[in-house]
């Protein structure tokens, strides 16, 4: 029974190959806001399923090595695949999958429920924001692909700043919460497994570098576009600011645990 729950949960709180279903569900959501909502809700449902059914503890005792290997393999695979895309929407999905899969490293541990929910939100929130920015970009330029026009820093400075900051937040940059979430995931691993998680960190650095290079640099070749409104920029900035503040405080909680 626990194994069946594990498999169902794998489509909500993704691990490969069920991460494919998770991504498919995200793609099929109608519009950017729906995708943002989906990336927040699905992993929480997966987590609740594991916690409420008791599979969280049983699986952690029965197959800790398999779960560890699956989590790390999924995180590495999707981080690597994110480097191969120049589409903001696909990038956001892959990074969300890569980060969320790390939750499986904590299966079997005995943290507070709300702490686990925060761990999952640490990956979901930047992904949701990124999916919203991808929607805004699609509305303004016809696509969220960065390979054709490029050089958005000059024509869409406000949106570019928000996308850049969100991309940094999605890749565990301090002082955002997922930096501390990553520290927590590291803490759960035996030292011998740590290099694999650090490979994920390295790949995230590579993917975010490539995304920013495509987004910010070069000369813009597309049609004239209007930037995000000042109010929208403040709202996005404020959300990221609050997210960063939570990170600072959550960093302390991780050390207590």
């Amino acid at each position: 029974m626990d194994i069946i729950i594990w498999i169902i949960a794998g489509a909500l709180l993704p691990w490969f190959p069920f991460s494919w279903i998770f991504n498919r569900l995200l793609v099929s959501a109608p519009g950017a806001w729906a995708r943002a909502l989906t990336v927040i809700v699905l992993p929480q449902l997966g987590l609740l399923l594991l916690l409420k059914s008791g599979a969280w503890y049983v699986l952690g005792q029965e197959m800790p090595t398999a779960l560890r290997a699956l989590a790390l393999f999924t995180a590495i695979l999707y981080a690597y695949r994110a480097a191969g895309t120049r589409d903001v929407q696909i990038w956001a999905r892959f990074m969300a999958t890569s980060g969320l899969s790390l939750t499986w490293l904590l299966v079997g541990l005995l943290p507070q429920h709300w702490d686990m929910q925060l761990f999952v939100l640490a990956w979901s929130i930047p992904a949701a924001l990124m999916l919203i920015w991808a929607g805004v970009l699609t509305k303004k330029t016809g696509a969220s692909y960065l390979g054709l026009s490029g050089g958005f820093a000059r024509v869409l400075p406000r949106l570019s700043v928000l996308i850049s900051l969100t991309a940094l937040a999605a890749t565990a940059t301090p002082i955002f919460p997922n930096f501390f979430a990553l520290l927590q995931a590291m803490e759960s691993l035996p030292i011998i497994w740590m290099p694999l998680l650090l490979l994920v960190l390295l790949l995230w650095g590579w993917t975010v570098g490539r995304l920013l290079q495509d987004l910010l640099f070069g000369t813009y070749h597309g049609d004239a576009v209007h930037d995000l409104s000042v109010a929208g920029t403040w709202l996005g900035g404020l959300t990221l600011g609050v997210f960063a503040l939570v990170g600072i405080f959550w960093g302390g909680i991780w050390i207590i645990n």
């Binding site: 480097a83 191969g84 895309t85 301090p174 803490e187 650090l198 650095g205 640099f217 302390g252």
Partner: protein, 562 residues
């Protein structure tokens, strides 16, 4: 020292916030705020340093409840004064230099953030603060280097820097977790005191915890300080604004030397790591200096010069001269900052005077100077070249402390001092001058002054940084078997003297001209191509990236982008 010392690294953050929120469209106001607050930071850092020198004591100040703490020890206070000093120079220079650039206010805010991040990095008293600051330096530097978003090259080279820095973050993370697991604390002073009690805890692959951590820290330092194979990004950071190049080459790239000093107690129990560090530093110093010589772009030449200097700094750590590495990074920081900030003038000067060597006939007839000026007799020059540096260096160190001359690390550094001094005198001898004795006398006088000044300053500086003679322990850790050491020094000395003699006689008998035309021409050209393509290191990385990206794209297509 008051508790307000903790405010010092927060001041530049305050400046950045004020600029971002209130002054992002007021260019003059933003620049003024930034310069004034950096000046204030520098003054406060100097006050802290002075009050410590007048009888203060090391202490840890906690900012957060569980992480976030600064360690106010001599290393922090020296680095705070140095970093804020360099940052102040760069800020003042940028006020006019960047005035015609877009995003002027953002540039100052980012400079402030960078200053704050480095101040936190050098003062971190716990591993989490260190990791946060170490990581953020790479992020902020990326945006500073990529300031001009119109130029794809700026983005490309900023990315090279960012990914190399990330490669250096990874071993630091692992080192931090090995220390946390082994000594059950995130506080650096606590970890170091427990490490002194239990230095031989086993880790992996037959290495003890200090040895494993030492290797990991060394790799982190190599990435930051552009050591060989992780150096490709450094010469290309010239595509960023000149003030950022100055800040980077004067301050940020020195992080490796700082890291060795901060984790001094780890390296005390990791002899094998120090030997490895010495070899990497030596290779970097040689490769960096060789590359510097063949550059035809003044700023890239300075970039490779930095690489060579960083190699030398890391080599100093490898022989146990940790305090000297800090003195070196400060001295190098100031002279490299002035070189970068003056590079524009040098380019202007080169445009005005082409530097073509004078024609002997013109010199003789029009300028009425001897067509063939004389040189010193070769035997006198050889004796001066070889003996004078040995005497000057040995006497100056003997004067400071006779105990120093028994340390292998000091002898190695004296050896390099001798090679450098002798090379300078040898180059002087090759110069033609109407009064060669006067020329040689001038150079000898400067050499003696520099050596004595450097020896005295570095000695007292080392005593300030490590007041309990900890330096001798690290010299001991860096030592090797004395027979091997003596043989090594003798072989190296013979090698250098032989090479000088060969150069001298080949030069005077026109051997180079004949070799250039003969069968050695192919070898010469191949060597030149190898160096001018920068040993193909960047080409190799570019190819690897292409292969990896192509694999990622195929995988994405195969899995239908889900």
């Amino acid at each position: 020292m008051g508790n307000w010392a903790i405010a010092i690294p927060f001041l530049p953050i305050l400046s950045a916030v004020i600029i971002f929120v209130f002054a992002h469209s007021a260019r003059k106001v933003a620049a003024r705020i930034s310069v004034i607050i950096t000046l204030l930071t520098f003054i406060l850092a100097l006050i802290e340093l002075t009050s410590y020198a007048l009888g203060g004591f090391s202490r840890v100040e906690v900012i957060g409840t569980l992480w976030g703490s600064v360690w106010l020890d001599p290393l922090t206070l020296i680095m705070w004064s140095f970093v804020s000093g360099i940052s102040l120079l760069v800020h003042m220079y940028s006020v006019r230099y960047m005035v015609e650039e877009a995003n002027y206010t953002r540039f100052f805010a980012l400079l402030d953030l960078m200053t704050a991040t480095i101040l936190f990095m050098v003062s971190a008293a716990d591993l989490i603060t260190l990791l946060v600051a170490w990581f953020l330096v790479g992020v902020v530097l990326y945006f500073l280097l990529g300031h001009d978003t119109n130029r794809p090259a700026a983005g490309r080279y900023a990315f090279w820097t960012q990914i190399t820095y990330r490669a250096g973050d990874v071993p630091l993370w692992l080192a931090a977790f090995v220390l946390i697991r082994s000594y059950h604390s995130i506080s650096l002073p606590v970890i170091f005191s427990r490490l002194q009690m239990y230095p031989h805890l086993d880790a992996f692959w037959g290495l003890s915890v200090p040895e494993l951590v030492g290797f990991l820290l060394a790799f982190a330092a190599f990435a930051r300080s552009a050591q060989f194979l992780l150096h490709g990004w450094l010469p290309y950071t010239m595509d960023g604004p000149t003030p950022v190049s100055a800040l980077m080459h004067a301050g940020i790239v020195n992080a490796g030397g700082f890291l060795f000093n901060r984790f001094f107690p780890v390296f005390e129990h990791a002899s094998i790591v120090l030997h490895f560090v010495f070899i990497v530093g030596l290779i970097t110093a040689v490769v960096g200096s060789a590359m510097m010589l063949i550059q035809n772009d003044v700023k890239r030449s300075l970039g490779y010069s930095t690489m060579g200097q960083m190699g030398f700094m890391v080599m100093e750590c490898g022989v146990g001269a940790f305090a000297l590495a800090i003195f070196h990074l400060i001295a190098h920081g100031f002279f490299k900052a002035s070189l970068f900030l003056g590079a524009g003038n040098i380019i202007g000067e080169a445009r005005a005077h082409d530097g073509v060597p004078a024609d002997p006939v013109y010199t003789s007839i029009v300028e009425r100077r001897p067509a063939k000026p004389s040189r010193l007799p070769w035997l006198a020059a050889a004796a001066l070249t070889i003996i004078v540096p040995v005497v000057v260096l040995s006497v100056s160190h003997l004067f400071v402390s006779s105990r120093l001359l028994h340390e292998q690390g000091v002898i190695i550094l004296l050896f390099f001092g001798w090679v450098t001094g002798a090379q300078a005198l040898f180059a002087t001898h090759k110069m033609t001058h109407t009064n060669p004795w006067r020329l040689m006398g001038g150079i000898l006088g400067s050499f003696v002054l520099v050596v004595i000044g450097y020896t005295l300053i570095s000695h007292y500086f080392g005593h300030f940084l490590y007041p309990h003679d900890e330096e001798y322990q690290i010299y001991g850790a860096a030592s090797i078997n004395s027979v091997y050491f003596d043989v090594l020094v003798i072989i190296l000395a013979l090698l250098f003297v032989g090479a000088w003699a060969l150069t001298f006689f080949a030069d005077s008998s026109g051997w180079w001209d004949r070799a250039d035309q003969g069968r050695w021409r192919g070898v010469y050209l191949a060597l030149y191509a190898l160096l001018s393509r920068e040993l193909y290191v960047n080409d190799l990385y570019a190819r690897m990236t292409q292969i990896l990206l192509s694999g990622a794209r195929r995988l994405n297509v195969m899995l239908r982008w889900c």
